[in-house]
Amino acid sequence: MYEKEIGMTTPELKPNGEKSRIGVYICHCGTNIAKTVDVEALREFAEKLPDVVAARTYKFVCSDPGQKMIRDDIQDPDLKVNRVVFVGCTPRLHEMTFRKVISEAGLNEYYLQVANIREHVSWVTPDKEEGTEKAKALLAGAVRRVHEHEALEQRRVPVNPDVLIVGGGIAGITAALTIADAGKKVYLVEREPSIGGYMAKFDKTFPTLDCSACILTPKMSSVKSHPNITLWAYSEVAEVDGYVGNFKIKIRRKPRYVDEDTCAGCYDCVEACVFKKPKFPDEFEVGMGLRKPIYIPFPQATPLKAVIDPNTCLQLTTGKCKQSCAEVCSKNSINFDQVEEIKEIEVGTVILATGFKAFDPVRSPEYGYGKYDNVYTSVEVERLCNAAGPTGGNVVLRDGTTPKSIAIVHCVGSRDKKTNAWCSRACCMYSLKLAHLVKERTDGEVFNFYIDMRTPGKSYEEFYDKILDEGVHFIRGRAAEVRNWALDEAEEGKLVVRAEDSMMGVVRRIPVDMVILSVGLEPHEDANEVARMFNMSCGTEGWFTERHPKLAPVHTFTDGVFIAGACQGPKDIPDSVSQAGAAASEVLALIDKGYIELEPNTAFIDEDKCSGCHTCIALCPYTAISFNEEKGKAEINEALCKGCGTCVAACPAGAAQQHHFTDDQIYEEIEGVLEYV
């Protein structure tokens, strides 16, 4: 009963019992260190420290001979060095190098400690005597610390080869096909009833003016037919759990009220709907066209399935409808009782390709959008230009007449402190494209109001030249306002764009029939929630933050989660596609490797000491700590733990500890840096 009832403080045993035999290797780093630190004095000092069996200096310890020097001491039958202190540059430079060196010599790589006397001493301390003294302190700290080091192994967790891709725009589609073609299983989740994103709305794409549908729709259908792709449209990510290699994700599938498996997309139900005429603003047509409560977003929609809008369907709103859609459906696919469904999937990696949102120009009232009928957004005009659009490709005003003069206002919701400070990158080019298309379709006068013309990209500038030759007018200066008010007869019944022409240095009033606002690209409102769900972050503007703006543009700070396309920042189609490719290959690289290596400096719980006080649990930013009810103890999932040690510092019982940063290791270092100098 005794030990059980009276547990007690026993003096700490050193890890793995054996006695430390420490080797200290001091680097001159040419003159980088030797110049302001007396390395010889340092060596003599090191020799006298407890358990130090070898102390050597060398010009460049990181060089092959230097590395050999260390290996030899470890393997020397008399010296038997079993702990190594490297005294030189910052551990952030060569810790890995020397870990490799000592493990090659048969020592566990974590029996190494680095004393940083270059960045922290020789380069910042002019006085040699002072520098040497400080170096001694740091060296002693390292010697005392390495004494406490324990043998550790890097941990490997297998990577689940399945992949989740969020967002079915051109980026998501490209990534999905690339990965699926490589033989991996892909879940593609899209919020709208059909994939395709913005590209599906366009008529032509710059600078080649090739038909958007012609290049996109084949990809969409191969997504549908691909054996390795599970496509869930009209669905959203509801919950994310787990970590790189092993995510557990819940997908919310919104009810279509149409059985997706049986629906043939034959339009019979749409024809049969009790609403004889389309009556409600069509989302896909961004309000330019109308649809019925039951509809198919567009002819090439993927999946090509009907969907019922619960807010306008008589049956679903009032419960009173003769349900002619259901009657006519030969497949009995209509199901008014359909409810939301939650799918649980397990994947190893995730690509977010959630894209962007077009700026809502109501936020820039000076342009009169929503006030004047004939002020349109660029997206609306994309639909007007589209042969499959509401006007069959004719660019006409709301009253059906063809505009004789059109103004295209650049940078609406871009490069504007009042709304969005950034350049939306794609607008100049798509404005040029629209200029071409509306001119071609209306033969009217087209005026572009721009701040700067930005055409960086293969054959973009050439495209600009082409449009110039077509006789489109360009006025350099941000448009101040769009008003329906006439100063003279010429302006009567027109929209007047007022802008400073900064080339001529005058304010100009240009009366036109139609105004097209080239709206900028914005992050989605819920970008931050999505980021939080995946434990990553958004910049202040709301774009997803990449791990490194230059060297890791598709990585995020959450391992295993990648980003592609405009969700990372404004992008045109070519850039989105190439980023999607990059993200896909990062994913494939991880899958191909098959496992993830984790630094072993994770936290762990000494169960005998844990009283189950819960202090640590809420402190973990990675929800790596959970409470084991039957044991009544906290548990740390080492695969989730990133090794910050916050829980360790907080644990009131000292039951939580961190490998490679244990209390004892740090106490030793504290004593070391203070005791001898």
Partner: protein, 295 residues
């Protein structure tokens, strides 16, 4: 007491006793009627407005800063001292000075030094407010509605804000399509007409010097009238002056026959609150305001 439980400092500015007299003569009784307590800033000085600002910014800031410092001095134990500056130029001048002193260490340093030499100190407690801001955001339109004794039903007014009270430093209303004055007018029973030139330039001080600027005034008047306004309501002595005094010249220059009275929004408030027109300085108007029979 009724009104807001806040206490405000009133900054008249030079125009209040000059061309803009009608503005003060209507603002003070209106605020009194509403029970909004307002005491005049003691020993106030020029706000350093537009002209000075363009000659010597630092000195202009210093002038404004002195007013801010005096205000803090006058209410030593308030966390925030709210200065109400009806004149758009004063409002902008004080606001601009405050912004730069608060945010630009260099300017802030210089100005504080200058103040110290006069044994004054500006801590940042002073806030600059426009009457519209106070009415809508502190006092509240609902409360104002209760106070209306004589709704100005049937009167159509073009609310004209001018540039200075909505751009670029103030944040109580939208910079290109402001609404606060329209809201106040609607509460008075007035129909605030929809028109695009609410914040268009009135020509500022230039109307004196050269004719082209008359066109600016003309655009505003023409649109106000064209959009069906019986009157233009302003919140700025300069705007009021420009829009009112040049109507003869404009009629001559652009051979345009129509006239329109240009009043301060506070004068309309006074009328709706049942204050006698002559006590609101409306007798000073060149173009008398005819109230519709419905009132």
């Amino acid at each position: 007491m009724e009104g807001t439980d806040m206490k405000y400092i009133y900054y008249p500015g030079c125009s209040a006793s000059g061309t803009g007299r009608g503005y003060e003569e209507s603002t003070l009784p209106v605020f009194e009627e509403l029970g909004i307590e307002m005491v005049t800033l003691e020993d106030w000085n020029c706000c350093g407005a537009t002209a000075y600002m363009s000659v010597d910014e630092a000195k202009a800031f210093a002038l404004s800063a002195r007013n801010l410092a005096l205000a803090e001095d006058q209410f030593p134990d308030m966390d925030e001292v709210h200065i109400v500056a009806p004149c758009a130029a004063c409002y902008l001048g004080l606001l601009k000075a405050k912004k730069y002193i608060d945010t630009d260490p260099k300017i802030g340093g210089t100005i504080r030094k200058a103040l110290q030499s006069a044994e004054l100190d500006y801590t940042g407690r002073a806030k600059v407010r426009h009457p519209l801001d106070v009415l809508v955001n502190d006092y509240g339109l609902d409360k104002l509605k209760e106070k209306v004794k004589r709704p100005l039903t049937g009167l159509k007014v073009a609310a004209y804000y001018g540039c200075q009270i909505v751009r670029p430093y103030s944040d109580f209303d939208e910079g290109h399509d402001p609404q606060t004055m329209d809201q106040v007018l609607e509460v008075l029973g007035v129909e605030a007409i929809e028109w695009p030139h609410k914040t268009r330039c009135c020509g500022g001080a230039q109307t004196w010097s050269s004719d082209p600027f008359l066109e600016l005034v003309w655009i505003i008047l023409k649109d106000a009238i064209g959009s069906g306004g019986d009157a233009v309501a302003t919140a700025c002595p300069m705007c009021q002056f420009n829009l009112e005094c040049f109507q003869n010249k404009i009629r001559a220059k652009f051979d345009y026959q129509k006239k329109i009275p240009v009043v301060y929004f506070t004068q309309l408030m006074g009328l709706a609150l049942g204050i006698d027109a002559n006590k609101l300085g409306m007798n000073r108007l060149f173009e008398r305001l005819e109230l519709p029979a419905s009132v």
